[in-house]
């Protein structure tokens, strides 16, 4: 078993006909993922290397039984693409697009609240269950099947840490990037909840970074609900204070936001926090030994 994506994942790619969409959809298919459809308004009836293209998500689902959508649509149309999939009740929506206006995402997040579709991203690398399915842009060759689950706010940093795990012979059950935008879909807590429930995951790794208070909230959740061992990482110990943090924003998160505060919060609930990606892999190795 894996988390969120499985052998039976069937992907519709929104924005399949764009250069990024085509490149990564074909890589996902080469990995063994069932990429069953594409959606580009106005290009219905075409195909990309044998993958049929539809005008709308609803048509794609009716014709191909897709159960996961993967979005490579440009930022100004991406929120609409998410809503289209959500309204079509696609169970899992993965949005790779970077640069979506936050006002658009606030509307998307409010729509999704209390509804069935699960959103991963935006501004994320997607997810991979090694050996089963790859939905997004995580390079499949750096992963190997195994029993460690990874969740991260950063794309490339995920690759770095997964790569270090694989080099040590530590395989992964599911690796998942939640995205780096201020408003995003499911986060650390929802990921840890699923890792905890997954009989094939023995260890969870969570990769955070400065800003917001996702890590602190995750720490509180771990203390209450997580028995699976967790190893953590926080990027940005040497980063200067963020420019985007306004005063009215600070009232919501208190004094949180620095890498040190996040690492402290995680360590206080028993999470071992590595200071470099290499150290994270070493801690994971030690925890599994």
């Amino acid at each position: 078993m894996a988390v969120l994506i499985e052998d039976d994942t069937r992907v519709v790619v929104q924005g399949l006909t764009g250069s990024q969409g085509t490149f990564h959809a074909l890589r996902n298919r080469d990995y063994g993922t069932k990429v069953v459809a594409g959606v580009t308004p106005g290009k219905g009836g075409a195909d990309v290397e044998g993958i049929p293209v539809f005008d709308t998500v609803v048509e794609a689902m009716q014709e191909t039984d897709a159960n996961t959508s993967l979005i490579f649509v440009p930022p100004r149309f991406a929120a609409d693409a998410i809503l289209e999939s959500a309204e079509a009740l696609v169970p899992l929506i993965v949005c790779i697009t970077e640069g979506i206006p936050v006002a658009d995402m606030a509307r998307v997040a409010a729509y999704l609240e209390g509804r069935a579709p699960v959103l991963v991203g935006p501004n994320c690398p997607g997810l991979i269950s090694p050996g089963k399915a790859n939905v997004g842009i995580i390079p499949g060759e750096i992963c190997t099947p195994g029993r460690v689950a990874v969740v991260s706010r950063s794309g490339t940093l995920t690759y770095q840490i997964v790569h270090e795990l694989t080099q040590r012979g530590i395989g992964q059950s599911t690796c998942f990037g939640m995205g780096g935008d201020p408003i995003h879909g499911i986060g650390f807590i929802e990921a840890l909840e699923r890792f905890e429930a997954d009989p094939d995951t023995d260890l969870a790794i969570m990769i955070g970074e400065i800003g917001g208070n996702d890590e602190e909230q995750a720490a509180a959740f771990i203390a209450e609900h997580v028995t699976t061992p967790v190893v953590g990482y926080v990027a940005g110990f040497t980063a200067p204070p963020g420019k985007r943090m306004g005063h009215a924003g600070a009232i919501i998160t208190g004094s949180a936001g620095t890498a040190q505060a996040k690492a402290d919060a995680l360590e206080a609930v028993g999470v071992r926090v590595g200071r470099t990606p290499t150290e994270v892999a070493e801690l994971a190795e030690a925890a599994l030994a």
Binding site: R76, P101, A103, A110, L157, G236, I251
Partner: protein, 377 residues
């Protein structure tokens, strides 16, 4: 993107929020003329994208046009908290009967906008929340419903009777600012009740969502007037995320998390980063070349570390970009390159075949950080 106070007030005024009459001045003479036009007195306010002006001498009440000129001269000459000052705002004095606080901001953990009104104005809002929690009323806004009349009734219900209607009007207009101009923070601190019963914005703190600037051309145009490090300005123009730092190792990476992590690892290897530069996802050869040119143009840089883990970014294009830029600019320092991920083998092969004397290949991030730190020492 943070606006200057006078730009924030211009924006507020466009949505019908009353602000004091004011004039931007870039010389003491202009400040003097502004004070004269307001009947001799003026509040002279330094224009910087930072808080703490009240306590730091950034706001001066001038009793005469000459005092206004003197205050402006000091600000323009001395700067403010280490920042250069190129403009000040001279405003009319207003008759203040009460000071309050109003704001709408994005609450990222709630994934909603948050509206706040406090009966305590002029203080930092964190301090209000800590010291006078009962003076602060807050409510989240569902973007599909908007700010409703019952929200506003609650938000303004603890203010003196005379200030409620004017504040309600300001809250509705602030929400229009947030929606209409893609603003993630619209803060009025203080908001003043005047002797004539009107409520106006004495200050304006406005942050605009960078991701939405494509549909806010008037706000985007303001950026050209901001003071930024020249290297930073060039990087922004090219679509790169760049922050100048104090060290000597120039850093280029893809993805904010990986770049932040690279800064940390370089420091642990005994070095220190000269900058943060994220080329973003899907960087092309041209963008990579531009990134390298930006970093090499910084005279503090003693070595460069290119740390790429390709996902949406293709390492072959990164390698081509590095070689392309070295045809245009001289590699005056060693360039340590570490490539992994999408098309990494192809990228490494391109670099090996080029056999450039300044390019040092590294197998791992840790090794790359060590090499770059040692080269810069």
């Amino acid at each position: 993107m943070d606006l200057f106070e006078h730009q924030g007030k211009d924006l507020f005024a466009r949505y019908g929020i009353r602000v004091p009459r004011g004039r931007v001045a870039t010389t003491p003479e202009e400040a003097q003329a502004a004070a004269e036009s307001f009947g001799g007195q003026a509040v002279v306010k330094v224009q910087v994208q930072a808080g703490g002006r009240g306590k730091g001498g950034g706001i001066v009440v001038a009793k005469s046009p000459e005092e206004a000129a003197d205050a402006a001269r000091t600000m323009l000459t001395d700067g403010f908290k280490g920042m250069p000052v190129t403009r000040i705002l001279a405003e009319e004095m207003v008759d203040i009967a009460g000071e309050f606080y109003a704001a709408i901001t994005l609450d990222r953990s709630a994934k909603r906008y948050l509206a706040m009104v406090s009966s305590e104005g002029g203080m930092e809002i964190e301090e209000v929340a800590r010291e006078h929690p009962t003076s602060l009323r807050r409510t989240h806004i569902d973007p599909w419903l908007g700010l409703r009349p019952y929200h506003v009734t609650w938000l303004t219900g603890h203010l003196p009777e005379a200030a409620r209607e004017g504040t309600a009007d300001i809250m509705n207009k602030l929400y229009s600012v947030v929606l209409g101009s893609d603003v993630t923070l619209a803060e009025v601190n203080p908001m003043a009740l005047l002797g004539d019963g009107d409520v106006l914005a004495l200050d304006a703190k406005v942050t605009v969502d960078d991701n939405a600037l494509y549909r806010q051309p008037e706000l985007e145009a303001l950026r050209s007037g901001f003071f930024v490090d020249p290297t930073e300005a060039r990087a922004t123009e090219l679509g790169l995320q760049y922050v100048k730092l104090a060290g000597r190792v120039g850093i280029i990476g893809n993805g904010a998390g990986l770049v932040m992590s690279t800064l940390d690892v370089v420091q642990q290897a005994g070095g220190s980063a000269a900058n943060f530069l994220d080329v973003g996802g899907g960087a092309s050869a041209e963008l990579m070349a531009a990134a390298l040119e930006v970093v090499l143009s910084d005279p503090d840089v003693r070595s460069v570390l290119v740390n790429i883990f390709g996902g949406i970014t293709r390492c072959d294009l990164v390698a081509e970009g590095i070689l392309e830029s070295l045809k245009r600019v001289e590699a005056r320092v060693p360039i340590v390159v570490r490539l992994d991920g999408t098309n990494a083998e192809e990228g490494r092969r391109i670099l090996t075949e080029a056999n450039h004397p300044r390019i040092v290949a590294a197998a791992t991030m840790q090794e790359a950080a060590q090499l770059a730190a040692d080269e810069a020492a």
